[in-house]
Symmetry: C2
Subunit: 195 residues, 2 copies
Amino acid sequence: MLVTSFEEKLDPRVKRTRKLLTDAFEELVQEKSLHAITVQDIAERATVNRATFYAHFDDKYALMDHLVASSYRETVKNKLADACGFSHENLALLIEATCEFLSRYTSSCHPSDEKYRPLIETQIQAQIKGLLSRWLEEHTNENGPSNIDIEITSTVYSWAIFGAGMQWAQHSNGSTLEDYSADVVSLILDGAPVP
Amino acid sequence: MLVTSFEEKLDPRVKRTRKLLTDAFEELVQEKSLHAITVQDIAERATVNRATFYAHFDDKYALMDHLVASSYRETVKNKLADACGFSHENLALLIEATCEFLSRYTSSCHPSDEKYRPLIETQIQAQIKGLLSRWLEEHTNENGPSNIDIEITSTVYSWAIFGAGMQWAQHSNGSTLEDYSADVVSLILDGAPVP
DNA sequence: ACAGTATAGCAACATTTGTTGCTTTGTCAA
DNA sequence: TTGACAAAGCAACAAATGTTGCTATACTGT
């Protein structure tokens, strides 16, 4: 049910089954909307018994969630490489990565799936929060504890960044991504434009 | 399918059916988890044909969404009354309203429904954004256009506020709601604690 | 009051879902 | 190598879903 996120030593059978399932699913997603895809479809295409599907994922959304999560993780890892620390630059990079990812995801998403997107997307916010937490922890170690709780800060900022990404993905205005992320960073770090 | 949000003059039959459905649903929600509730249940309890349910809502989540949306609208209306304008005070009120609402909602929510919460909750962000937009528009009229797009500002802030509410609802720390909202407001308006 | 129209009820349908008990097969370690 | 164990296959299930074509009923404006 819970797909172990670390690639632990895994029974080769489950490895094989999961690969079959995810491969089949990725194929299907290219072909039709998530809404139109059934667990039947996936199992059939994967040549895996349907009951076995349920041994690995709760439903198709869980599978989608898993794929999106690891894909985003990958995107962030590439863009941020070793970047680690709470700074304008890193925030900008993180925002850009998020915008790019959500943009790609949105355009690969059939309109009929609109309704169920939050189900898959909100875990991205959780990842952002994790990242920010680590950055802030480190930052705190250097400069002494900040006056506002790290928990609150990372939560609020992660949602803000996630939201900025969603906004970009859905109505990317004329501006460049760099300008956009700069605006967002300044909005977040420097505060309100009209306080 | 789309439940008209304004109480337009509606065919009394439609009104009746919707009331029957929502009443039945509200009863059921008290009794078991959303996950465990079926469309069958709802239709049966409402003494409405199941096919008729589908003429009004896509699925049980759409119904839940509808109820949560109007409930939140109500909450905000009460708390903010005529408050209208982009200010520290109003932001604080909005945040408190959101925290209270999400807190109530969370505690009334069976743990087995965790997975599907984003489906219902994210439309709250949309409401917040609408509110902020109006506030900022008005503010702009007074003080000339701000340097950062209202669209971006309202989006980012609305997600930030929504996130703050979620955080409060799930791990309400020891502090009072007033302190919490003050922290969040200052985080949002005054910028990063460690810039 | 009535005719036209919109909505609800009803019954039936093919499908999908989620789960179960049991069997078979693959894996790992002693 | 073999024996214990974990995972996958299989078949069958009751139940829920989403949709359809048709009938009956309630509303609306003229």
